[in-house]
Symmetry: C2
Subunit: 348 residues, 2 copies
């Protein structure tokens, strides 16, 4: 057994099951030679798979359970009756220090409920948020919340801003990340009370990064700011709308290339260059949403991803751990809570 | 003077000024030979322009005013002090029957405030909504509200559903439009109270179209439903995020084609086919957002559009008038209000 960092993997989550998770870990193994893996799931299925991946076997252990959380299970039910599930045991291993982070492609709501219950939120944070990064005209930006909190008040948004800023700084490596609050216009008077109040608080607070002010929907792809802050309702719908639009455009593009013989020939010539486009917009590259604000590293992979995408989700967890992101978020909240403006402190 | 339908044009609205508006009307003139135009604005500037477009001159009149609503003016200020503005006079001409509809590329908030004040909402409708249509994998769909109402309750969303359904049926020509409520998941328990309550009301009401239930962000581009209903905050941000994504993807595509000599050659061969792609995703084709729920046809053009885009916005107004969309919305609300389930009736 070797390796400095251990990552717990919920082997039973995701549409393509344990095979995808294990193949994903095998890809991640090549990228992160110092990481070892704790697989939680049905040993009868996992052992023969791992036997076929001997190099992965050297850095892996299997932790047997026959229970798993169903994809359509209600979070509250999963929380009550899923104590022996692969998802829950993987989270438990982070809590008791056997693993430094957990990755699951399973039920998002159940993962959040269990992670909150087992790991708790960091001091000063009311509610965790789901964050992810995505390509823009200027590089990459982070957006949160992507669906953990359907309704958010001003304090929630402010806390998301601080967490997102730390994430952009530590994991994406942006020196002084700019933070924008998503709204229907850029003037101070625009939007509803929660965004206007959050705007006022962020203006008055000495954030570690730069507060840009309000941004609009088209600023997301422009990369106007490094961190886009919004409530979970808007964030979830916007992110999925963007993903849908990329697929639509790619579909239109394929249709165009198939529409004539000359176009097909043109496609053949341009194919190597177009591969760059495909790579840049490949959703698997951006797979791995982070549950920020918890006392531990929890990464949610898309349920429908493949091994390549799952390996990227593992990469996000490894980055979070390696960069000590949780500790930095915690430090920032401690520092901000000590400032005269106490509005960043948790209200609950 | 000829023509069966008169459209009032706010000649002073938009970033490119009266020239763009007049050139746009000249393009629209070719498409709609039975339409005549009432230009509201500075006659000293408009008359020489119109003199250079003699065929447009035959179906046009100029209504002089030196006042205009500034792009950054607060709606409440515009409403109080903009009584003599080109925007207000154009709306007035719809109210007194000289024009059947109005198109403006000016200040959206001011246009909505003035249109609501002058034209009033239809019986049974609390608040008008901004609607627009856009390309999908299956053709075209309508989305509303795109920003008129930052906060919406369940009744507002239900009213938007009915208005959007009539619009899809009468203007887009969909026989039995399907309506979806934008949410963070498709299960009944997902989302906040307003969407869940609206869902329950729409399930229980005999809509003229089909109520599909909840849809998610990626269903917009898929074209899962003909009408996507949401609050103005989410709708505005989502629409702009989609527009930004299309520009990002197009930028990536241009970059790919420029990245090698072979790719450039491939582009030349595929160019005619790629033109189809450009046309399909050209935002000017989808220019012209409708203010639904008012007692009159009011269309808002993008401020930054060109003459081609403005002509399309005129086309939307003409379609609304020709198909009697306002009367049909009014009829549907009268009919629905008479049903035992009275929750569709305006609460205010």
């Amino acid at each position: 057994m070797s390796g400095d960092v251990a990552i717990a993997l919920d082997a039973m989550g995701g549409d393509r099951g344990p095979e995808m998770v294990m193949q994903g870990a095998d890809i991640a193994r090549l990228r992160f030679p110092k990481v070892r893996y704790l697989f939680f799931g049905d040993a009868a299925r996992l052992q023969p798979m791992l036997a076929r991946l001997p190099k992965l076997g050297l850095v892996s252990t299997i932790h047997h359970t026959e229970h798993e959380v169903r994809a359509d299970e209600k979070p509250s039910i999963a929380l009550r009756s899923g104590r022996g599930s692969s998802m829950r045991l993987a989270i438990d291993s982070v809590h008791d220090g056997r693993a430094a982070g957990v990755v699951s492609a399973g039920n998002t709501g159940a993962l959040m409920a269990m992670a909150k219950f087992v790991l708790r939120t960091l001091p000063g944070i009311d509610r965790p948020a789901i964050a992810s990064f995505f390509p823009t005209m200027r590089g990459e930006s982070v957006m949160l919340d992507l669906g953990a909190n359907v309704l958010c008040d001003a304090n929630n948004l402010v806390q998301f801003a601080v967490m997102g800023e730390v994430f952009a700084r530590t994991v994406l490596g942006v020196l002084e990340p700019s933070v924008g609050l998503l709204n229907v216009g850029s003037e101070d008077m625009k939007g509803h009370e929660a965004v206007r109040d959050a705007h006022a608080i962020l203006r008055a607070t000495a954030l570690p990064g730069r507060f840009h002010g309000f941004v609009e929907g088209d600023d997301i792809a422009k990369g106007t700011v490094d961190v886009v802050v919004t409530d979970g309702f808007t964030g979830n719908i916007t992110l999925k709308a963007i993903e849908g639009t990329v697929r639509l455009y790619a579909g239109f593009l394929r249709g165009s290339f198939r529409s004539s013989l000359l176009a097909r020939l043109g496609y053949l010539l341009a194919q190597p260059a177009l591969k760059t486009l495909r790579v840049r917009t490949d959703p698997r590259r951006y797979n791995g949403a982070i549950f920020l604000g918890l006392n531990g590293v929890v990464v949610k992979s898309h349920g429908g991803t493949d091994a390549f995408g799952f390996a990227n989700a593992i990469g996000v967890a490894v980055d979070m751990v390696m960069h000590g992101a949780i500790e930095k978020i915690s430090d920032d909240f401690t520092r901000l809570a000590a400032l005269p403006n106490g509005s960043l402190a948790a209200s609950g």
